[in-house]
Symmetry: C2
Subunit: 339 residues, 2 copies
């Protein structure tokens, strides 16, 4: 089968790879309907993370083609959505809603889901079947649920977005934009998107942003405070993962408020004293997408949300290299690869 | 009147100072019944914070002797308890329970409460009167409510201690010990005190600790995990404020768990990537003691809790220097000064 290999930073190729097999009785194999390139895939692409001949991809939707002997919850032919960490969904950590820290978790992307087929360990606790075979136009939204929507949703929940709350969103990539959608669904009163790109601002407004702040750094913080009676936002979503974005998120939040951070931290250090005197709640990390999947799939199925519009470039899997390039150069917010 | 001045690290003297006066119409002046030395007073005493001719003290109970024209909630003769930040208790931040970040806050210790009298700004929003004149044996506990109990209580609330929870407590000073008392009152199932001092271990058990861990650092973390099926505590109270204690607190907590940190951070930096991958909730800072004062005063008044036992050395105000010395040398957990 065909699949993406990143040989080195900037060097992405689609090559022949072995067809995945059932290894453990709890595995399933799926045929991908679509996959995509993640903002976090750009870290190695840009050389910020080490990379050498790596299989890529951790987002996936598709049809089950094979199950191990112990799999009970999904069956061959089911159309399923899963997340970037597999989970048993039965351990104490899973039951508390933190499936991305499951005691039996594995990275779903170990063998790379930017491919025609993928093996998914812990199939019963990881894969969620859709109510039936989806209409083709729903596939991008279901794929978004696999990571960017689930992650943005977790950020909004971690930031305690809800009725009466003013939510600030740092980061206008797919996760930040879907954090806006999540905050809106959770009932937030006011949603301030921090963005300086017209196309992303338009999507932010479509998803529910009520205000746009173009300023960054201290000027951005000052603008958020201006919009919130000098107090700062109740809830802030951080969806970048840099020193600047984390600092901006914390400083944009009022004492007693909540920062939900999901940008994968790179070279971030937090000053203990400044954090202490900020008085904010800080929560984040790899999103437990599995917690939210049943609800998100239903919202998509019922066409109440359309997160799939974050995919502004669709390419066949064979053109993955061009997809990486487009995202790297910010010509695309997020690239869907048809399989 | 007499009051404590710290001229330089290690140089504490009791000297004549001006009698406090009403400055703003929202002020009150109180005659201290008792005051005390805080663990945080040891930072300048040890030279870790700059200090030069500073008035000291921010914990206080006593009798109102004078009120400004605008004060309505307390009156001359009332016995009152206040906290280390004054607050209007009416602003949006106060109403959300974060009085220590009140938009009109002032440090109560600006003029130092290790003294015979003290001026308390924002009297209406800061001072809470006891139901009547307290029995003398209740005064240490009421004084504890002013900071160490209120701070330990906030840490336990921030750590979401409660029924079914296992709570780890890093720090066996007065705040950590009273965090144990708070966790017990909040219904925690299991409370693990980290302490290697027999006297403090005894107090920890008296306040409700079910387990004692003597190990520190990685060995301490390993022991906490051993006691919690390898998962870590649900809730961890951090009551020291050093790099080691913060690291230990975060590492002792399971993903999805809560760290409540109230040790005043000194030279602490948090690695963003490690925090991200810990999956914990982090909340803390200067405790909004005012939020809890009415409840804490009632519990003390009804003799349901006895936090005053953390004072294991009582000296007259004139001997404050010996009190600092005793705490610095860890001969005393916490020193009460009678006025």
């Amino acid at each position: 089968m065909r699949g993406v290999i990143m040989h080195a930073p900037g060097d992405v190729r689609v090559e022949d790879r072995e067809h995945p097999q059932i290894v453990d009785p709890t595995d399933a194999v799926i045929r991908l309907a679509a996959t995509c390139i993640c903002g976090s895939d750009l870290w190695p692409y840009r050389g910020a993370d080490d990379v050498h001949d790596a299989t890529m991809g951790h987002e996936y939707v598709g049809t089950v083609t094979e199950v191990g002997a112990a799999v009970q919850n999904v069956t061959v032919g089911d159309f399923v959505v899963g997340s970037f960490f597999t989970s048993d969904n039965t351990c104490e950590i899973c039951r508390a809603g933190y499936q991305s820290f499951c005691v039996h978790r594995t990275p779903a992307g170990r063998e790379g889901t930017q491919a025609e087929y993928a093996r998914i360990p812990n199939a019963d606790g990881t894969l969620v079947a859709t109510p039936g075979q989806p209409d083709p136009d729903l596939i991008p939204s279901l794929l978004a649920a696999s990571d960017v929507l689930g992650t943005g949703w977790f950020a909004a929940v971690a930031a305690e977005a809800g009725p009466g709350k003013t939510v600030a969103v740092v980061g206008d990539g797919a996760v930040g934009l879907l954090g806006i959608l999540a905050a809106k669904q959770l009932g937030a009163e006011r949603i301030i998107a921090m963005s300086r790109h017209a196309d992303r601002q338009a999507l932010a407004r479509r998803f529910g942003a009520t205000d746009i702040v173009e300023e960054r750094g201290s000027a951005g913080v000052a603008r958020i405070r201006e919009l919130t009676d000098g107090l700062g936002a109740h809830s802030t979503i951080e969806a970048v993962g840099t020193q600047e974005s984390m600092t901006q998120a914390i400083r944009s939040t009022r004492a007693g408020g909540h920062v939900g951070y999901v940008g994968v931290s790179h070279d971030v250090t937090l000053d203990g004293q400044r954090l202490f005197h900020s008085g904010v709640h800080l929560h984040g990390g790899p999103a437990p997408v599995r917690r939210f999947l049943p609800e998100l799939i239903q919202l998509i199925w019922d066409r109440e949300i359309d997160p799939g519009v974050v995919f502004d470039l669709t390419l066949p899997l064979e053109e993955a290299a061009e997809g990486y390039k487009a995202m790297d150069e910010r010509r695309a917010i997020k690239v869907l690869l048809t399989v």
